[in-house]
């Protein structure tokens, strides 16, 4: 069953799921659905379904991990045993440990940890259904959950991957494209600071392809960032009696004592 048999692009240049090369999978974001967590978010990105929960800032446990000048950020990325085709062993794998670390490091520049010395902020990312690009989707959800927890941040982090299928640069690879494609390039991006906070690659690309892939990934991150803001707006500024966020001055005046 030669790999050559698998065609990832049709004659019109459309992908297996009918997308154009520069098209994102359908994305849905929801904020604040867990009552017990201080902040939470849920993302559906293509067939990915990921839940992120944030606890804290809270007392550092065990105590010796606390830092005197800032909060410790901890992150656990985990895939549910039922999230993949073949049962995944529930114990954290090498890959999950790595992703936990990478996601934590991608979020660290955005969170103002210096406001909570000696405390910890715990992030839990649980992949309920996996379909390639879980680290990016998880990161997007985790950043939203942090904002939902009311933790001071410089800005939201959005993430998206680009890659190469059949020699063409494509945005947001799906599961088969990831497995049979030539390269994958996950990117996390902070639009306001114009800063990349996660960049990984597997497979091979030429320099030009890399630049092109990075460009479309960053553009997609900007779009996702807009959706993150919209998700927060939905939760906090619209539900409340149809008051739009725009009329913030009267509402704010009322909050004052």
């Amino acid at each position: 069953m030669g790999d050559e048999e698998v065609r990832l692009l049709d004659k019109n240049g459309l992908r297996v799921d009918g997308r154009r090369l520069d098209e994102l999978r359908p994305l849905k974001l929801e904020v604040g659905l867990l009552d017990k967590a201080d902040g939470s978010a849920y993302i559906e990105h293509g067939k990915n379904k990921i839940l992120a929960a944030v606890y804290g800032p809270r007392e550092a446990q065990p105590r010796h991990i606390a830092l005197a000048d800032r909060a410790v950020l901890r992150c656990r990325y985990h895939m549910a045993p039922f999230s993949t085709d073949e049962r995944k062993h529930p114990a954290p794998s090498r890959r999950e440990l790595e992703l936990s670390k990478v996601i934590r490091e991608a979020l660290e520049p955005s969170v103002m940890t210096e406001y909570f010395p000696r405390a910890t902020i715990d992030i839990f990312i649980e992949v309920l259904q996996a379909d390639a690009g879980t680290r990016c989707a998880g990161l997007t959800a985790a950043s939203l959950a942090l904002a939902d927890a009311g933790i001071p941040m410089r800005e939201l982090v959005a993430a998206c991957a680009a890659g190469k299928v059949e020699g063409k640069v494509a945005l947001d690879l799906s599961d088969i494209e990831d497995k049979k494609g030539d390269a994958d390039l996950p990117v996390a991006f902070m639009p306001k600071s114009n800063a990349i906070c996660l960049l990984q690659m597997d497979g091979s690309m030429t320099e030009d392809e890399f630049k092109q892939a990075l460009d479309i990934a960053v553009d997609a991150c900007r779009k996702i960032h807009e959706m993150q803001r919209e998700a927060l707006r939905q939760k906090y500024f619209i539900v409340k009696e149809g008051n739009e966020a725009e009329e913030e001055v009267p509402a704010a005046a009322e909050v004052q004592q």
Partner: protein, 224 residues
């Protein structure tokens, strides 16, 4: 305002929950933006309690130490209530065992923050009027950011609550609110009202709606 949103550009001061980069002021939290003079502030809608000096808080004893109690005040930092800060006769030597007679693990107390600077854990006192052990009542936990709304403009909301429900309401700045009434039904109504305020904190005419709700509940009770 979501974190990272541009609030103002120009000669403004970056107030609470905002930060400045060059000449621009950005939001650092989800909340509602406001301009006070030439200062930009964001009023948080959610967040943890960070102790401040002189705050009245409601806490629960989690441990008895050599010379005092460790108290959970729903902050990232555990608070300490030293024995010397309780209004009791000194002089006799008191051991660990005797400390437990004053406050046991799990006891609730109303206390005041007397020292805190983020490098050290907060210190509490129960010396003062209205401070000390909680013996009865019902507790509501809301996000500390909404405590000002519970109190209302010049205390309008809390005065109304106390009057309408006939329940004494003691708001801890840490988001824990104690309602002490003459009977459990009244307390239940008061707690329901508190959660209603938290849920609808940003709507206008809230005081009147809460009042209407309480009146209705009071009526329902008299029927039964």
């Amino acid at each position: 305002m979501a974190p990272g949103e541009l609030l103002a550009e120009g000669p403004y001061f970056a107030g609470e929950n905002t930060y400045r980069e060059g000449t621009k002021v950005f939001s650092a939290r989800i909340g509602l933006a406001d301009v006070i003079g030439n200062k930009i502030v964001v009023m948080a809608v959610k967040g943890v309690y960070i102790p401040r000096l002189d705050d009245i808080v409601i806490g629960r004893v989690t441990d008895i130490r050599m010379s005092g109690w460790q108290v959970d005040i729903c902050a990232p930092y555990p608070a300490m209530l030293p024995m010397s800060e309780t209004p009791m006769q000194r002089g006799r030597d008191m051991g660990r065992r005797d400390l437990g007679k004053i406050y046991g693990v799990g006891d609730l107390m109303i206390a005041q923050v007397i020292a805190f600077d983020r490098t050290r854990d907060p210190l509490l006192t129960t010396k003062g009027r209205g401070l000390g052990r909680v013996t009865s009542g019902r507790v509501a936990r809301i996000t500390p950011a909404k405590i000002p709304r519970i109190i209302g403009k010049k205390g309008s909301m809390i005065t109304m609550l106390k009057k309408e429900t006939d329940v004494d309401i003691i708001p801890g700045q840490n988001g824990v609110i104690l309602a002490v009434g003459r009977n459990p039904d009244q307390e239940r109504i008061a707690v329901e009202a508190l959660y209603m305020i938290e849920r609808e904190a940003h709507t206008s005419g809230l005081t009147d709606r809460v009042k209407a709700m309480i009146t209705e509940r009071n009526k329902g009770k008299s029927v039964v």
